[in-house]
């Protein structure tokens, strides 16, 4: 009995209920759409139809199956998103470090950061593309821009959250600035830094997909819009929607995993 009770209140149970709930709502919706539309798969297909298309051997563009199209285009987008994410993380961390070391830098840089963050990606993407003149570079730049802000602000918050007494302990033994950073500030900001990474990883992916739509040169976003416009296969569209969502979630968990491996913190009880 106890085991059942523990299972019912466990995290896996929550996830399970969530997934089942989503499937039920989806299927009810799909059933309703089926009654009213001529081509219901354009609005909301049944889930089994999407799953079916993943394993289907039917060529949809003459040479590739739907799944092959998704995977081949995914690498184009995701690799660029990943590179941009890495660059953005490094810039974000260094910026937080500089803002914490020098107050004028914080005062000067912060408003710019806010402004950059407020420009919608949709507006920023064509500008970046015009500047870089290269879709691959644009993907990287956009992913980096979206990454560095959450990383910078969270890391800065982490630096500022260090208790006064911990600073005083360092001061009382005449610790050099380098030691204060290496032994106190950087280790204690790690949970904040990783919060920034977890926030921005899915965003970097979404942004790269969005940049794809600007040009016809391949990538998940490009296929997303083409599969809607051209008579390729609507299931390419649905596969990309699901694939992107899953990769976004996985990127979050990947960051959690990296945190467990890298961060010096040991979770309470763990």
């Amino acid at each position: 009995m106890n085991g059942i009770k523990r299972f019912l209140t466990s995290r896996q149970m929550v996830t399970l209920v969530w997934v089942i709930g989503l499937i039920i709502v989806w299927e009810i919706g799909a059933a309703a759409v089926e009654q009213t539309k001529r081509t219901p798969e354009y609005v909301l297909p049944r889930i089994y139809q999407i799953v079916d298309s993943v394993f289907s051997q039917k060529l949809v563009n003459g040479s590739q199956t739907a799944t092959e199209i998704v995977l081949s285009n995914a690498s184009v987008t995701l690799v660029r998103a990943g590179i941009g994410f890495l660059i953005g993380s490094v810039i974000g961390f260094v910026l937080a470090l500089l803002m914490n070391m020098f107050l004028p830098i914080e005062k000067i840089a912060f408003p710019y950061l806010m402004i950059i963050q407020m420009i919608p990606i949709l507006g920023m993407a064509p500008i970046i593309l015009a500047i870089t003149k290269d879709i691959d570079k644009s993907r990287i730049v956009i992913a980096a821009i979206l990454t560095f802000y959450p990383v910078a602000t969270n890391t800065l918050a982490g630096f500022k959250a260090v208790e006064k007494e911990k600073h005083e302990l360092m001061y009382s033994i005449a610790a050099k600035k380098k030691d204060v950073y290496m032994k106190l500030l950087i280790p204690s900001c790690m949970p904040y830094f990783f919060t920034g990474l977890k926030l921005s990883a899915p965003m970097a992916i979404t942004a790269s997909i969005l940049v794809d739509t600007l040009q016809g040169g391949g990538g998940l976003g490009c296929m997303l819009s083409q599969s809607l416009k051209h008579a390729m296969s609507i299931y390419v569209f649905w596969q990309i929607v699901f694939f992107s969502a899953i990769v976004g979630i996985l990127s979050f968990y990947l960051m959690s995993l990296v945190e467990k491996l890298v961060s010096p913190y040991k979770k309470v009880g763990g």
Binding site: E165, L169, Y171, S172, K183, P187, S188, M190, P264, K266
Partner: protein, 277 residues
């Protein structure tokens, strides 16, 4: 050569030779500390005209109700707070010079441990900063953890320890530096009575082995009388010294000394010294 020889000396004798090199007596003259008022109004007078002499190797307690400036006095000695006027001389040096020479060990009211470091590495941390060689660090960490009775907990993280154990890690960390002067700011105030009494005995033991100058801030009169050679009674608004009570009880002191007439009359003497409370 001399340095290496010094390091190789055993724990106790090294401590004694250290105190001989540096006079850890503290002379405080006409010390005043004012805090600017938050609303820009008049200054708040935390300490007014403090005169105090602490002999090398003496165990001195600062007692008083909240707001009497006892922590401010400790922080000013530690160079964590700047005096408005007056001077503090520690063996002829200013607090700042003593701090830069890394001769202070501080134990805060909270343990102030680094959560991501194990107990051993917490004790080790200040020694890393002071550039003490690894072999020596390891030796001292072991010594200090044995001293505070936490040798078997070296690999644990702070959150796995009780409050009393965490506080003992903080004490071990301060002692591992072999500070000339140990400054303790209400280190036991958050602990239960049993743990507190045990740590009182431990601290007395550590002090008698190492003969450090210890300044101990507390609001407990009993605690002050039990531990100290000298109890400095501070009164609030503004913070000032209202009495200095010499405690001539024999050492080592056991817990049952608290039942004696002498102990209790000293407690009364301290209690009666407060002004304007």
């Amino acid at each position: 050569m001399l340095r290496a020889a010094k390091i190789n000396e055993d724990f106790g004798s090294n401590m004694i030779s250290d105190t001989n090199e540096f006079n850890t007596g503290i002379i405080i003259e006409n010390l005043s500390v004012q805090f600017p008022d938050k609303n820009g109004g008049e200054h708040v007078e935390a300490l007014r005209n403090i005169n105090l002499e602490i002999k090398p190797g003496e165990f001195v307690s600062l007692v008083g109700p909240s707001g009497c400036g006892k922590t401010t006095l400790l922080r000013t000695i530690a160079d964590l707070q700047q005096p408005t006027s007056g001077t503090i001389s520690i063996g002829g040096l200013t607090p700042r010079e003593v701090r830069l020479q890394q001769k202070f060990g501080i134990v805060f009211q909270n343990p102030v441990l680094y959560e991501w470091r194990t107990v051993r590495r917490n004790v080790c941390m200040p020694m890393e900063i002071m550039g003490i060689p690894k072999k020596e660090r390891t030796k001292r960490v072991t010594q200090m953890l044995e001293l505070v009775g936490l040798y078997n907990f070296g690999k644990k993280h702070p959150h796995e320890l009780s409050g009393g154990m965490q506080q003992r890690v903080g004490i071990a960390r301060a002692l591992a530096l072999r500070p000339k002067i140990l400054l303790m700011d209400e280190p036991f105030s958050a602990l239960d009575e049993f743990t507190k009494e045990k740590l009182h005995l431990d601290l007395q033991n550590i002090w008698s082995k190492t003969k450090k100058t210890i300044i101990f801030v507390t609001h407990s009169i009993q605690e002050a009388v039990f531990l100290s050679d000298k109890v400095v009674v501070l009164s609030p608004h503004p913070g000032r010294v209202s009495a200095v009570v010499e405690i001539n009880l024999p050492r080592p002191r056991g817990l049952n000394i608290k039942d004696t007439m002498e102990f209790n009359s000293l407690v009364s003497k301290v209690r009666n010294s407060f002004e304007g409370v």
